[in-house]
């Protein structure tokens, strides 16, 4: 990201992101933290190419979304990006299996290949027992694992996660985060995660802090997660964000 700025025009002009610079390496697991209204979601929307920057350049894997047509962008998202959302956004009318296979059907892959990938993924994510269930019949953790499966099934280059643990209890959160770490390490998938939760952030390789749309600080992980977590908390207190934004849990 190079000098990226996003201005929302309207009755009140609002500068959501201001000259933001950062770089994510291939295979890196990065968390973006910041208080409410700091522009985290806007940032994610820009990277996921569903919104375009007012000025500045975003380059993903050597490609620039600005130069692509709408259609190319859609295909780019379909093949290169995977999404994980806070409220899962599974399609209620589809079963777990169908939710997983959804991105592949759009590309018209052969049935055999789709079935093979589902078997692989279900094993990896522990979804074998619930493939026939519907999203409202499974727990939050299972739903988020399904969503991650959906984001992984087309083997994207980058996974964009928006508060993936926001709606989960602590046990399910830990499962999901460990899963993300595993995916990151085994498949070398780049993961960019936006989060409020310092515990979630402490699983990452690097945490970028933004405030009011501007770069604030960044810290790298170290050997022990506990100390990394403590350092994240320190930066957060410096950030002076709203107290409510911080997790009430002090230690995992």
């Amino acid at each position: 990201m190079d000098e990226v700025t996003k201005v929302y025009e309207g009755k009140v002009t609002h500068r959501a992101i201001n000259q933001l610079n950062f770089e994510v390496k291939k295979g890196e697991f990065v968390a973006v933290m910041g208080p409410s209204g700091s522009g985290k979601t806007t940032l994610l929307n820009l990277i996921s190419t569903i919104d375009s920057a007012t000025s500045g350049m975003i380059t993903i894997d050597g490609l620039s979304p600005e130069e692509m047509t709408k259609n190319e962008l859609a295909l780019f998202r379909r093949r290169q990006l995977g999404f994980v959302f806070q409220d899962f956004n599974l399609l209620q009318m589809l079963t777990v299996e169908e939710n997983l296979v959804l991105p592949l059907t759009l590309d018209g892959l052969p049935i055999k290949e789709m079935k093979r990938r589902i078997v692989d993924l279900a094993k990896k994510l522990g979804l074998e027992q619930i493939l026939e269930k519907r999203p409202n019949e499974i727990s939050g953790g299972q739903a988020q694992r399904t969503a991650i499966g959906r984001a992984l099934i087309h083997q994207p280059a980058i996974i964009l996660a928006d508060e993936p643990t926001g709606n989960l209890d602590s046990k399910a959160s830990r499962d999901v985060l460990e899963l993300l770490v595993k995916v990151n390490q085994e498949q070398k998938t780049t993961i960019l995660m936006v989060t409020h939760d310092p515990i979630a952030a402490s699983y990452c390789d690097r945490v970028i802090f933004i405030k009011d749309g501007e770069f604030f600080n960044e810290i790298y992980s170290d050997e022990r997660r506990q100390t990394f977590f403590q350092r994240i908390l320190n930066v957060l207190s410096l950030l002076g964000g709203n107290v409510n934004d911080l997790s009430t849990i002090r230690l995992p």
Binding site: S48, I50, K70, N71, A74, L75, F76, R77, R78, R79, L81, F83, F85, N89, L91, Q92, M93, L94, E98, V101, L102, P103, T105, L106, G108, I111, M114, K115, R134, N136, R150
Partner: protein, 569 residues
């Protein structure tokens, strides 16, 4: 009503959360409904009155009245207001009931119904299809003997079948499809099919109602057009414009004929008069009375009507058809008979290829013989005198036959009076004015048709609007879903394709079933009609069904356009 309130359930929930009493909420809803009612009644009356002149003009045209001026009276206004106000009061009262027992949290969440996968019963699914097929088969192969019984049995069977079809059979079919992955896991089908199955399941009852309502609309218009297709064929069945037949003893004959001629001339209507004498004899072949016409009379009539001429040799005769159907049945008939009283042998073969006289005006046994043979008939019908065994027939041909409705009204009055005095059978003449009859039939039928069309239009619009409303209430959810899909890389073109596949069944499934229902009902109707009057209603039916299809397609595109605009926004 519950659908309308459900759309606003969040708002009600919020009001209750802020501490509104249930009583106050009820008052609010009641007041709102009444307010909406008052405004809509006022605008309705305003627009209604503005367009009433237009309707008056249509009705004037239909009834062929000279003028139908606009008038103002307080009665229609009061009636409209009272009727609709009482309707709104009932709606307002009942709507309060719907939200009475809801928990606030459920109102805020907006999901009144549990979102569980409603299971279908295979038995009912199959039963639904079987009932429909049975109803269709029975309607298609009905005969006059059973049509009455069927018309009582079939509608409930078809209605119940339709209900099961929408609540169970559709689910069953979609479930079967979802089991076949090679069919189902295919590009847009995965989303479209699953979405359709949700929508159809959620709204199964509504689609059932829409189907029944549409069927009624199709049927009412179809029946009425079949009536007016009868009037359309009226001219073919009544090729002569004015008919006066008179016994030789009729004292009014010359008076009436000159009256008709005078009236025609006064109104400036050009006409051709073909008078002839019809003789009666007994046929040795059937022992029945036959009416005999002369070849040259038929030919002068044919010239006037622009029909083919005939030429007969001596001793040869030809049938004159007494009904449309008889043309076919008499075409290959050939009989040898003797006109008994005068002892003239005649070989009757073939039939005149067109209707000349309205059916049954002269009787069912009519033949035409050569002039020479005709002259030979001299003996009166057995048991009658020369004066009563033949009669004069005056056939008027008027090109502008619809304008003859005011001709010979005084003769008609005389006929009516004699019917009133119960000596109709003693009347020495017979007068028929098809133009006048036509104007009555046309006015009645087209008035009925007009009302039917209005009712059908309202019903169809209501059905379509309901589909649209349902789409609109589910819009938020659909929008969220498409947002997710767009993020996942759904192109615009794919989105439109999915929307198409989603909307098509919602629009055309109820409509298609309604079409089928009415098509098969018309098959039964044709049976009834062909017994009443020989009229084919097929072409008119097709026209009506095509017309409705067109309206539905337009409606589909209109709503698809709005829906896509909303979903994309």
């Amino acid at each position: 009503m519950s659908a309308f309130l459900q759309a606003r359930s969040k708002e009600f929930g919020l009001l209750l959360q802020l501490g509104m009493e249930k009583k106050q909420l009820n008052k609010l809803i009641f007041l709102e409904t009444m307010l909406i009612g008052a405004v809509s009644i006022a605008t309705g009356i305003l627009f209604g009155y503005a367009f009433s002149k237009f309707f008056f003009m249509i009705i004037r045209e239909l009834l062929q009245l000279d003028s139908l001026p606009l008038y103002i009276s307080w009665k229609p206004f009061t009636l409209t207001m009272c009727a609709f106000f009482s309707l709104f009061v009932i709606i307002a009262m009942t709507s309060v009931v719907f939200i009475r027992d809801q928990k606030i949290i459920e109102l805020i969440r907006g999901n009144w119904k549990t979102d569980e996968m409603q299971s279908f019963s295979t038995v009912k699914a199959v039963l639904g299809i079987v009932m429909l097929l049975f109803a269709y088969a029975a309607a298609a192969f009905t005969t006059m003997n059973v049509v009455k019984a069927l018309s009582i049995i079939l509608p409930p069977v078809a209605a119940l079948g339709t209900y099961f079809f929408f609540t169970h059979s559709v689910m069953f079919i979609l479930h079967q499809m979802r089991k076949r992955k090679s069919l189902y896991w295919h590009r847009y089908r995965l989303i479209a099919v699953s979405e359709v199955s949700v929508k159809l399941r959620e709204n199964a009852r509504m689609y059932f109602i829409v189907t029944i309502v549409s069927t009624f609309a199709f049927l009412s218009v179809g029946t009425l057009t079949s009536l007016s297709s009868y009037t359309g064929q009226f001219r073919e069945l009544n090729p002569l414009s004015l008919i006066y037949s008179s016994e030789l003893t009729n004292p009014y004959e010359s008076e009436h004929i000159s009256l008709i001629r005078k009236e025609l001339e006064e109104q400036g209507i050009s006409y051709t008069l073909v008078p002839f004498v019809i003789k009666q004899q007994t046929s040795s072949y059937s022992q029945y009375k036959v009416n005999i016409l002369r070849e040259s009379d038929i030919n002068s009539l044919a010239i006037a009507l622009g029909l083919p001429l005939i030429s007969l040799e001596a001793g040869v005769g030809m049938f004159i058809p007494y009904s449309e159907e008889s043309i076919k049945s008499l075409a290959n008939r050939e009989i040898q008979t003797v006109l008994e009283e005068s002892n003239i042998p005649v070989q009757i073969k073939g039939v005149y290829p067109q209707m000349l006289f309205p059916s049954m005006v002269i009787g069912s046994n009519i033949i035409v013989v050569s002039d020479a043979d005709y002259e030979l008939i001299s003996e009166p019908l057995e048991g009658r005198t020369a004066m009563t065994s033949s009669f004069n027939f005056y056939a008027f041909h008027v090109a502008a036959w619809e304008r003859t409705k005011s001709i010979g009204l005084s003769i008609d009055t005389q006929v009516t009076n004699s019917i009133y005095n119960e000596d109709y059978t003693n009347l020495p003449f017979y007068f028929e004015n098809p133009g006048f009859n036509y104007s009555i039939i046309r006015a009645t039928f087209s008035l009925l048709l007009f009302t039917g069309l209005m009712v059908a239009a309202v019903l169809l619009l209501a059905a379509g609007s309901f589909v649209y409303f349902k789409l609109y209430t589910g819009l938020e959810r659909d929008k969220r879903q498409f947002d997710v899909l767009k993020r996942m890389g759904l192109t615009d073109r794919e989105l439109i394709k999915i929307v198409n596949r989603q909307l098509l069944p919602q629009f055309f499934l109820p409509w298609g079933i309604a079409m089928l229902h009415s098509a098969f009902s018309f098959l039964s109707l044709q049976v009834i009609w062909s017994n009443l009057a020989e009229v084919s209603i097929l072409s008119d039916m097709i026209l009506v069904l095509v017309g409705f299809t067109f309206i539905q397609v337009v409606y589909y595109f209109l709503i698809r356009w709005r829906y896509i605009a909303h979903v994309r926004a």
